[in-house]
Symmetry: C2
């Protein structure tokens, strides 16, 4: 009787990662130590490629799109901004691209539709991980290990996607990710309120302080302000693409947030103490349902 459990079989052997930003770089760094997995990378920025070359973990690295699309891969993993992922998916469609394709974008509906129209063997994914800083130099395998990970299958892709879904699940379980499943539309609905709206709200709060004329209030800020606005310091490039791609959900959710704030303003200006207490107490009870848990930590044995 064996005394140890055999490691799971690798669901893919040859991985190509396009886009070595914070997420693409972190995925590449998290996957690269796995024995038997071969990783090739693409990035349009020569400095990023040079930096990636220095860590000596990748089989091939290219800044040439043609070359990347010609790599012999089992899975192409698109980690560029959403609109660039979509452009590459369309190009793949024109070439009748054979390997399986996934992406790590923060919105899923438009990318999913592009992949469906391109006739690819595709299933979308989204690692729920981030930092206020961008780029390969800030990436780290630890960002991805143990994180919540959403896969977004769409039954219109039919049987081949079912098989791909299983392999993507197995691939990310190698990183101890906590895998959940949502449809692309459900995903964009949920992440509009729990991710994209919090970003806009944090930025709006920092913007309110910024607009205070003659009151340099920032030096007096404590932990509450720091926490509430931290994500507002993120580089806006990535966020603007996400917000625009999810504009319909966000327009409605911004309206809902403005409604709650307007209700608060009415209660505050009218000195309606019991009503304000009731509103805030109900919200606090709801928010306390979110456990202050650390993500599953991954330890190399």
């Amino acid at each position: 009787m064996p005394k140890f459990k055999l490691p799971p079989r690798l669901p893919f052997r040859r991985l190509g990662i396009a886009g070595l930003g914070l997420i693409g770089g972190s995925l590449a760094k998290a996957f690269s130590p796995l024995a038997g997995l071969e990783i090739s990378v693409y990035d349009s920025d020569p400095n990023t490629l040079e930096e990636a070359g220095r860590i000596r973990r990748f089989k091939k690295a290219t800044g040439d799109l043609e070359e990347f699309l010609g790599f012999d891969l089992d899975l192409a993993y698109l980690c560029m901004p959403v609109h660039r992922n979509i452009e590459m998916i369309r190009e793949m469609g024109r070439r009748k691209y054979g390997p399986a394709v996934t992406d790590s974008g923060s919105t899923k509906s438009a990318t999913n539709l592009a992949a469906l129209e391109a006739g690819l063997n595709y299933c979308g994914g989204h690692p729920i991980a981030g930092k206020e800083v961008a780029g390969f130099s800030n990436s780290s395998g630890d960002l991805i290990r143990g994180c919540l990970f959403i896969l977004t299958p769409d039954e219109r892709f039919g049987r081949p996607q079912k098989e791909l879904f299983g392999r993507l699940k197995a691939l990310h379980e190698l990183l101890e990710c906590d895998i959940r499943r949502l449809s692309p539309a459900e995903h964009d609905r949920v992440y509009s309120v729990v991710s994209h709206l919090p970003y806009l709200s944090a930025a709006a709060l920092a913007g309110t302080v910024q607009r205070l004329e003659g009151f340099p209030a920032l030096p007096y800020a404590g932990t509450g302000f720091r926490d509430s606005t931290r994500v507002g310091a993120s580089p806006p490039e990535k966020w603007v693409a996400v917000v625009m791609d999810n504009a319909e959900n966000l327009t409605r959710d911004l309206g809902a947030l403005i409604d709650v704030l307007t209700e608060m303003k009415t209660l505050v200006s009218g000195r309606k103490r019991p009503e304000l207490f009731e509103l805030l107490d109900s919200i606090a009870s709801y928010r306390r349902k979110l456990p202050e848990k650390e993500k599953k930590s991954y330890r190399l044995k």
Copy 2:
């Protein structure tokens, strides 16, 4: 020649702390190890008093207001909710209370006015420290040590306050606090935007998710949502008192926040990508001016 620097003289010897909640308890725990300082405490809750007794650090502990007001003190430090501090200040005025008085309340204008009318030797203070949990059992000396600390003198108090200001500054410097000075009105103006508005904004964001019918979005939340709404889980008792006491500033600041969000909503719904980028980029640059520093850490040698 002495080889060590003499420790500073104690600015007060007999301290009375009224209200052993998170802040009062933390102040009591931070001051109590200082040699030569004698601390007596008051709290209206018998369980809190019993808990405070168990740590064996206080000279006297009472649940009787009369008794507390009769203690022979150099400084009465009021750490109850703002409206209760004001009630005690009025009672002190009626009794021509002799010892110096300060308070740790999150708003300063109303308390300052009450102390002026009561003819007390008073100067307000505000330790910029907090947690999402309340009460003596969650208090800790470490919460106060090294924190930003605002003193709010008002020239209408005249010469005795100048001397009290200096002694309060020296007292909190024993805890390595970073002391700054604002008038009570400036204080309430600044903390409306950097503390009270972020609380309401965090609560409004959590409230928006709460109101999403049929979408249990909370289980999908990542770090961004957690950070942006953390303070919204705080017990609302304290916050409602603060918000009501600072209602005028907050009504204006809630209006300013709603304006920024409405501007964002217009840009998002109109798919105005460059304009949205410009707005968010300017805010991100502003927010990055706030260093992600830890508070000064206090180490016992």
